[in-house]
Symmetry: C2
Subunit: 338 residues, 2 copies
């Protein structure tokens, strides 16, 4: 859904000083990538590869799988839409609250959709199950052995496990081996989060060749542009410059949680760098406007996630100083009610 998203920085760009609305740390040094792209010059003068096979081969090598087990897409979003298309008219279960695109892709491809809230509700009649791990917006990671058991107990159901945020997780997510030894699970991933390049639109899926071949037969050519391909090859080659300290970010998120709880805000436990919170009064929409106006801070109004309310919002831990500013601002907003 085009308007169902969070990172709406583009609406407020000039007013924003700190962006907590994204679930990605914002302090990252992109100078190497910028220099590389400047050197590459007018690469947009020629068509990109119809399918970004060069990036698929690189990822296959990094993950030690065959290139047939990797499909690189225009963000993980294109993979989501292709998966829904490949299983059109299917019966999908989506574990909510979660990323909005599973539901929209299912609608576009005529699935009947059942929203569920735990692994226990999955049935053999579900042709697909969609889940996000760590989950957006809650930051929670599924207990790995339990998730694998459920996957194995429903061999005719295709599980889409979106691990876009795995770089920020302090708990074990599914490994490539967990995926590759099974026939009914596709992992989604993205360069967006790990490399802080959401504007480039590079995602990928790893899974059984039979499923990915169906996606290839449905995809349009040239969906990933030249610059995204060039950047992806550079980033994968230079990934050592983009390592996040997940434990540190998790600690900072926990500190944010503690402070927020101290202000009477209800906060979910999180397993990564972002967290879902619920205001004791007021609405997230009003808090969001106030924070933009008074502090140049952008948060994610989470009220448009399935099953959440007008009081829910999401923030990702940023630098310590920025986190302190957020707490100060929240304190001021809350005390204005008293």
């Amino acid at each position: 859904m085009i308007d169902g998203h969070g990172d709406d920085l583009f609406h407020f760009a000039s007013k924003i000083k700190i962006n907590f609305s994204t679930n990605i740390p914002q302090s990252v040094d992109h100078s190497g990538l910028l220099t590389h792209l400047a050197k590459a010059g007018a690469i947009f003068k020629n068509y990109p590869e119809p399918e970004p096979r060069s990036v698929e081969q690189k990822l296959a090598m990094l993950h030690d799988v065959d290139a047939g087990n990797v499909i690189v897409t225009n963000g993980a979003t294109e993979a989501i839409y292709l998966l829904a298309h490949a299983h059109k008219d299917g019966k999908s279960a989506i574990i909510v609250p979660t990323f909005r695109e599973y539901q929209d892709a299912c609608r576009v491809h005529n699935h009947s959709v059942q929203f569920i809230t735990s692994l226990d509700e999955i049935e053999d009649t579900h042709s697909m199950v969609w889940l996000c791990n760590p989950n957006n917006p809650t930051g929670q990671v599924y207990e790995k052995e339990r998730l694998l058991t459920v996957i194995d107990n429903h061999p005719a159901t295709v599980f889409i496990v979106d691990q876009a945020y795995s770089a920020f997780s302090v708990k074990d997510v599914l490994s490539i081996t967990d995926i590759m030894i099974r026939k009914n699970v596709v992992m989604l991933h993205s360069l967006t989060k790990q490399f802080v390049v959401p504007g480039l639109r590079i995602g990928y899926a790893v899974g059984p060749e039979e499923i990915l071949n169906r996606l290839r037969s449905l995809r349009m050519p040239w969906s990933v542009n030249s610059i995204a391909i060039e950047a992806a090859l550079y980033l994968l080659e230079n990934s050592s410059s983009y390592v996040f300290d997940a434990a540190l970010l998790h600690n900072q998120a926990n500190r944010l949680s503690d402070e927020m709880r101290g202000l009477g805000i209800v906060v979910n436990d999180t397993d990564c760098n972002f967290l879902l919170a619920r205001l004791p009064f007021g609405t997230s929409a009003r808090l969001k406007s106030w924070l933009i106006q008074h502090y140049g801070i952008l948060i994610r109004d989470a009220s448009n996630f399935e099953r959440l309310t007008a009081r829910h919002f999401r923030v990702a831990a940023q630098t310590s100083q920025e986190n302190i500013t957020l707490i100060k601002a929240l304190k001021e907003w809350i005390s204005s009610f008293q």
Copy 2:
């Protein structure tokens, strides 16, 4: 179809000195755009607009239509797939030989497809008609009044008129007014050809709001990346630096034709900068390999266009000097048979 295309420069990049395989002139100065993008810096650190509305608004202003009458897509290709999706299970007529994607988009969305070779074969039972104007690969432009009459004679049929190459046409193509006063025609366009940026993937459609709204309801978010949006806004603002002399290019294409005909090659009359040719013997595939090996010249083997043969190939006029080199090379190849 992922492998059904021409501009496969990426396969041979290091060997190619002159690229005749694309239908776009290659000599263009992109320094302004490169400087602009370098100044823009790490714009990929944030999500792009979910839909590229800033570019839609700019195009709407330039074309003097409402923003609701323009949809900006990941190349015209995304618009083609969305149109086929919006009319899924339909009955499509495609005037061939032509750009391969109409047929592939129709296949992916379960159309029954009839290949026709002229406007005379269109019937009221066709839910959609797809045509390219000027046509790729023939370079021919439909006689405008005749085309409009056919469109008006089939009011229940949606006509998709792809004018991606209109900047290179010496004949009148459909105008925005021709499109806007009708309810059954959608024009496709692209920045690819006019601005020589096929690697960026920016296309658009202009047409009735009711049809475009259906496309918007089916599209995925963020399909056009940040850099493509930034570049599109720059290019549209600076279009005066990217004006082609269509008459000059057409003259050069005609001169190429004359020379090729003198070598016994059959050449279609063209209304723009590229042309379709047929060898008197041998195959285009073999000619292509030979040209790469001996001259670093890339041509478009056109044998995979519907209704064409192993002897067909397509070239676009490049600089005079480059055109002379092509003729010299063709002469050498042909005389090697004698």
